[in-house]
């Protein structure tokens, strides 16, 4: 006998993600899932984002990492509440890991929750964490062909940060090529070329994100 099922393999994850989203909505918190390769500069972008927005909004961070508390320490040094999730080698955050971390986050006191995913462009694209928007960080040193290689991550992104533009001259990457490649796989994506090191381009990203936070309140 054939039984039609048609349910998502990640049905349990999706249910927990929905519960997370309801908690964010009830608290008026915008939740952002930050995806990118190892070394793309996610944590540095996060540092600049916390520094740039902490006077304007109440922030909180969840740091996903296979091992170590290094990233969480960097965020804590900016006086931003942060919870570290160690996946113990796991390749992505899932909704239940975030749900557990939320036990230590005062959502009522936050406007913006930044969730740094594990450094990986594959698996994180499959797992809904309950976030409102996904941001991919792509550094210029990774090359312009990443959207073509990892379409699911880019397709999911509301915004793509093209990081490390201060290193452009050391690469054969052209910013227009990167933007075109991103938009081929996600025509609606906002693209923010920036350098978290020099500060170039950071303000445009902050203004866009601030607008999303205000809209979620």
């Amino acid at each position: 006998m054939e039984v039609k099922v048609v349910e998502r393999i990640l049905k349990v994850n999706d249910a927990v993600a929905q519960a997370n989203r309801s908690r964010f909505d009830a608290a008026g918190v915008l939740a952002v899932n930050i995806i990118g390769s190892p070394g793309a500069g996610k944590t540095t972008v996060l540092e600049r984002t916390v520094e740039g927005l902490k006077g304007r909004f109440a922030l909180a961070c969840i740091e996903g990492d296979p091992y170590t508390t290094r990233d969480a320490e960097r965020i804590a040094a900016l006086d931003c509440p942060v919870v570290q999730i160690n996946t113990q080698g796991g390749c992505h955050l899932d909704a239940s890991l975030v749900s557990q971390a939320l036990e230590q986050v005062d959502l009522g006191a936050a406007d913006l929750l930044l969730i740094e995913n594990v450094g990986n462009l594959l698996c994180p694209s499959q797992y809904d964490l309950g976030e409102h928007l996904t941001v991919v960080v792509l550094s210029v040193t990774e090359g312009a062909d990443k959207p073509e290689k990892y379409p699911a991550a880019f397709q999911r992104a509301r915004a793509v940060i093209v990081s490390k533009i201060d290193a452009l001259a050391l690469t054969d990457v052209d910013l227009d090529d990167v933007s075109a490649s991103i938009r081929r796989f996600n025509p609606q994506a906002e693209v923010f070329p920036l350098s978290a090191r020099t500060g170039e381009g950071v303000e445009a990203w902050l203004q866009w994100l601030a607008k999303q936070v205000r809209a979620a309140r």
Binding site: M1, E2, V3, K4, V5, V6, E7, R8, I9, L10, K11, V12, G89, G90, C91, H92, L122, C123, S125, Q126, P147, E148, Y150, P151, A152, A153, Q155, R183, R184, F185, N186, P187, Q188
Partner: protein
Amino acid sequence: MHELGLAENVIAAVGSDARRRGFTRVSRVTLRVGEWSAVLPDSLEAGFHLLASLEGDLFAGTELRIEREPARGICTACGSTFPAGRTGLVCPACGGPGRLESGVELEIASYEGE
């Protein structure tokens, strides 16, 4: 690693549904996996058979069928649909912005049991 976790979800979902129906054997499971789902079908299959072998009689000799769903876009300007494959989501007909219609599926489509 990741595929093994997905296989675990498949076995758990199908297993509990089959037991609820009083089935003693699942002969085939059909999954729908999108071209852009970031999943390796071979790894998923290997994980499935490994876990199935630990489940005893219910999953003895169960065949896994994986249907690949191609990445397809639909143009938000002219409404035409097109393969997104390597060329992406910009409409080849009018150049308008497309959105993804299929290609990230990760679903249990059906199973056969008795």
